[in-house]
């Protein structure tokens, strides 16, 4: 049995706004991941470079994209700690460390980008009134999980664009796995598995479903593992591989919490 934290959406209009934003996200996912795996046996694909259907984003674009996400996470945790929305003890210790990590990631990316670094946007973590994460701890947890799982998918999606910048790639991977550590422990705070089963959010509808679009993929390297490795359940197969998001998908998710200039 899954624990279903209850979130009350008092403001029907705000909820409506959120849903329509989510519909916008669906359009992105309908166009596919943008990162197309070759539909040929993996071994035949060696030494090609076709991870991106379109042109690869530049290193600067990828790093600024990452920086925006790190700003969002750092600011979210800063405000959550300030509001003391989480219980003291284990929960607060976890979020204190996660916050410190995100601040360090911001500093590292700002340093790497220098004058090219984007400024921190203005955030609205209520997403127009749909959420109250600094008053309701369950909502805080759900958004934290959504942000961390998004972060994992975002760095993963960005990594192939860094393939010719080995040191930057390694650093990005070193951040990526830290985000995955965060995601797992926050999921566990919610009483969930540390890994993602299918495309299930584990959260109430109309909250963070966009974060998990495509996580139910079972095809890796052109091979449908649900067929090729049918001795394993599809749940386990999808858990064993985290999936990427495109920059556009991530920007759409993060954009729900960014106040336009």
């Amino acid at each position: 049995m899954k624990k279903q934290p209850s979130i009350a959406f008092d403001d029907a209009e705000a909820q409506e706004t959120l849903i329509s934003r989510r519909d916008a996200l669906r359009d992105f996912s309908a166009t596919g991941l943008g990162i197309a795996l070759a539909a040929v046996p993996l071994a035949l694909g060696l030494f090609s470079r076709k991870a991106f259907a379109g042109p690869m984003p530049s290193v600067t674009e990828v790093l600024n994209f990452a920086l925006t996400l790190e700003y969002l996470e750092a600011e979210f945790y800063r405000l959550g700690l300030e509001a003391a929305v989480m219980p003291v003890g284990r929960d607060r210790e976890i979020f204190q460390l996660v916050f410190e990590h995100e601040v360090a990631h911001v500093a590292l990316l700002q340093d790497a980008l220098g004058a090219d670094a984007v400024a921190m946007p203005t955030f609205d973590f209520t997403a127009g009134g749909a959420f109250a994460p600094f008053e309701d701890y369950q909502q805080f947890l759900i958004l934290a999980q959504g942000f961390e799982d998004t972060g994992v998918r975002a760095y993963k999606g960005g990594a192939p664009a860094l393939i010719d910048a080995a040191d930057v790639l390694t650093t990005a991977l070193q951040i990526h796995s830290v985000e995955a550590r965060h995601a797992a422990v926050i999921r566990r705070l919610r009483g969930e598995r540390g890994w993602i089963t299918g495309a299930t959010t584990t959260a109430p509808a109309n909250t963070i479903q966009a974060v998990y679009e495509g996580e139910d993929n079972t095809t890796q390297g052109g091979v449908d593992l649900a067929v090729a490795l049918s001795q394993y359940s599809e749940d386990r197969i999808t858990e064993a591989f985290d999936e990427p998001l495109t920059i556009e998908q991530v920007n759409a998710i993060a954009g729900m919490f960014i106040v336009p200039d």
Binding site: L46, T171, Q174, S177, G221, R236
Partner: protein, 277 residues
């Protein structure tokens, strides 16, 4: 609470049965382009602990924990109908990792996935009645086993005839009746896997494979976080400062460092050639 655990220090196994932790720094330098070899050199002056080449027959010795390595055990898997050259085949005499191309990098990953899958199979087969009795922890270990088997079988399928074969492992140094030992060994393997994939990303020439490696490494990191949280659910141990530095970066190891550590448990001679600088 277990004395293995310190969040601010480096968690060190104290039990003499713990897997040895090699001083990996000592083998990390000067190996560029050279043949890096372990386990099959009679005059190796510094054999990794846990591998005794002259004595391979000894370590099995009716030891139950060694018997099931590499096979599918436990619930949730039916008969293995996987690839022919894959996990069902018997162990090979030796394996060569040629890092001059992406096959070598994937085979390197396959060594680690085989290691993890074999280890968790033994945990599931041997420890649920003794060391791991909590139902939720049993579920976690069973899922870890299956995830690693899927990674292993996927890599076998992806590599096809380029895959190294099934390796033989020796976990006789692991006390499968001790929850602390099992958790600590799991932590070492998962953290090592994360560091290995993080360090190997730059070696891949193919962007598709880089993406796939990325899909796997974050799952290893989820495992590591979960295991560490079971060991000590306080003070940020899930991402402790023994694995995440003050820039909030996880570890990234080169293959020499990883193979030296993993070599503690690998019986089959594995040699690595054309290692990156």
């Amino acid at each position: 609470m277990s004395k293995l655990i310190r969040s601010s220090g480096k968690p060190r196994p104290r039990d003499g049965k713990q897997p040895g932790r090699r001083d990996f720094l000592k083998v990390s330098g000067g190996l560029a382009g050279a043949l890096f070899l372990w386990g099959c050199s009679a005059d190796d002056s510094d054999p990794p602990p846990g591998i005794d080449v002259g004595d391979v027959g000894d370590v099995r010795d009716g030891d139950e924990v060694g018997r099931d390595a590499g096979s599918d055990t436990g619930p949730d898997t039916g008969p293995d109908t996987g690839p022919d050259a894959g996990p069902d085949a018997g162990p090979v005499d030796q394996a060569i990792l040629d890092f001059s191309n992406d096959f070598g990098v994937l085979n390197y990953a396959l060594v680690l996935e085989q290691l993890e899958a074999a280890f968790y199979a033994l945990v599931v087969a041997n420890s649920f009645g003794s060391a791991i009795t909590d139902a939720q922890e049993q579920r976690i270990f069973d899922e870890l086993r299956i995830h690693e088997e899927i990674h292993r079988d996927f890599l076998f399928a992806a590599l096809g005839e380029n895959a190294i074969g099934m390796l033989e492992f020796d976990f006789s140094a692991v006390d499968f009746d001790s929850r602390d030992v099992i958790l600590t060994t799991s932590r070492i393997f998962e953290d090592l896997g994360v560091a290995a994939y993080n360090g190997a990303g730059r070696l891949l020439k193919d962007a598709d494979l880089l993406l796939i490696a990325g899909k796997i490494v974050s799952v290893e990191a989820r495992h590591a976080s979960t295991i560490r949280d079971l060991i000590y659910p306080r003070e940020g141990f899930f991402a402790g400062d023994d694995v995440v530095d003050d820039q909030a970066l996880d570890r990234a190891f080169n293959p020499s460092m990883v193979l030296a550590q993993a070599g503690d448990f690998v019986v089959t001679p594995v040699s690595a050639i054309n290692l990156p600088a």
